[in-house]
């Protein structure tokens, strides 16, 4: 039996035994029932599994779960506070920045990490930062527009 580790998920203190080879994605999806983070490529390439660890965007499908010990994880389920959507969530909905929605949680959380370090990114900076998040529906234009709108609305955390 693996040793329990302590961490926070969406502002709740949690303690769970975690096997050394467990990845964060499956800890979230299976043990914690947080299915907002998606399994896409399984190789850290597409970004559908992106979550925040201490505010940094990480690819949870390749991120060893034990590394969250003592740290704070934010998933898409934890972004709205008290039922109020985060400006990024609002902007993605308002700008139709999604179709099938599979990449959406990862897109929003990656954008969250961007705005945390650069509150008013240029269009080029947005495109560069979001470059490794894939949207197979091809909603890129609207995703960029949504991030611009969220930044203008003071979406930086």
């Amino acid at each position: 039996m693996a040793e329990p580790i302590r961490f926070r998920v969406n502002d709740r203190a949690t303690s769970l035994p975690v096997d050394p080879d467990r990845t964060l994605l499956w800890l979230l999806r299976t043990e914690l029932g947080l299915t907002g983070a998606k399994y896409g490529c399984g190789a850290g390439l597409c970004g559908a599994c992106t979550v925040l660890v201490d505010g940094e965007a990480v690819r949870s499908c390749t991120y060893p779960a034990r590394r969250i010990e003592g740290r704070s994880v934010t998933t898409i389920e934890g972004l709205a506070v008290g039922g109020r959507l985060h400006p990024l969530q609002e902007a993605f909905a308002a700008h139709d920045a999604l179709q099938c929605g599979y990449c959406t949680p990862g897109m929003i959380l990656t954008a969250h990490a961007l705005l945390a370090r650069n509150a008013r990114p240029t269009r080029d900076e947005i495109i560069e930062f979001m470059d490794a998040n894939l949207c197979r529906c091809g909603s890129y234009q609207r995703i960029v527009q949504a991030i611009e709108a969220a930044a203008a609305a003071g979406g930086a955390p």
């Binding site: 898409i76 969530q89 909905a93 179709q99 929605g101 599979y102």
Partner: protein, 229 residues
């Protein structure tokens, strides 16, 4: 029209007997107006020969006792937006607010049997059948309102789910009141006229995607509408 006579298969001029499996469905749906379309006609609407589809009835929509409209579709939402656009069609044909329309999609127990969600057929084929069902529902509601208000149906109009006398708008009754506790059933035995494009108030205008909030919050609404996918 008597539901009991229907379900017993008793001949009733202009109407076809209902099949037993639909009776089970009606039980599930509870009260409200249910508009049924014969399987053959649904198949026609799909542009397919009848033998390619189950030979049963297909329910397209329900108007609940609370006035909310539920649309049923065997098609699924995979990002193409039909969760929203089919609801828009219902809202337009019924003259109800888009916000009062819910869609149940891809549920094989509740929704009309459908082959697949392919070929850009949802709007132009299923959508047309849905519109006709909604137009028929509206006609039934106008008949009920006509009885209730003591005014000819052709002098009535509908706005936001409320039927009113055109010449005297204070005389009105809501769909919710009309459907309260009643289960009325009709078949589409003729083509109900659908609205002309110029009369659309909801279709062709921007609307918040019905699945957007689920998708930006991680609550569900993934491809195929499955939560947790």
């Amino acid at each position: 029209v008597s539901l009991a006579r229907y379900t017993a298969g008793e001949p009733d001029a202009g109407y076809r007997p209902i099949r037993l499996d639909r009776r089970e469905m009606l039980k599930l749906l509870g009260s409200g107006i249910v508009i049924l379309i014969p399987g053959g006609e649904a198949a026609l609407a799909q542009g397919r020969s009848g033998d390619r589809y189950p030979d049963d009835f297909n329910a397209f929509l329900r108007i609940g006792a609370d006035g909310r409209v539920t649309g049923f579709s065997g098609k699924i939402e995979m990002g193409q937006g039909i969760h929203t656009s089919l609801a828009q069609m219902l809202a337009d044909e019924l003259d109800v607010p888009l916000a009062s329309v819910d869609m149940v999609m891809g549920d094989t127990l509740l929704c009309p049997a459908d082959m697949a969600t392919v070929g850009s057929r949802s709007t132009r084929e299923y959508g047309m059948a849905l519109r006709r069902a909604a137009a028929q529902a509206r006609a039934v509601l106008l008949e009920l309102a006509s009885d209730r208000l003591g005014s000819p149906a052709d002098g009535l109009a509908v706005r936001d789910g409320v039927v009113f006398v055109r010449e005297d708008p204070d005389r009105s009754v809501s769909y919710a009141t009309l459907t309260q506790g009643r289960a009325i059933e009709r078949t589409l035995d003729r083509r109900a006229p659908i609205k002309a494009r110029a009369d659309h108030r909801v279709c062709g205008r921007e609307a918040l995607r019905a699945d957007a909030l689920d998708k930006v919050t991680g609550r569900g609404g993934g491809p195929g509408g499955r939560p947790g996918s």
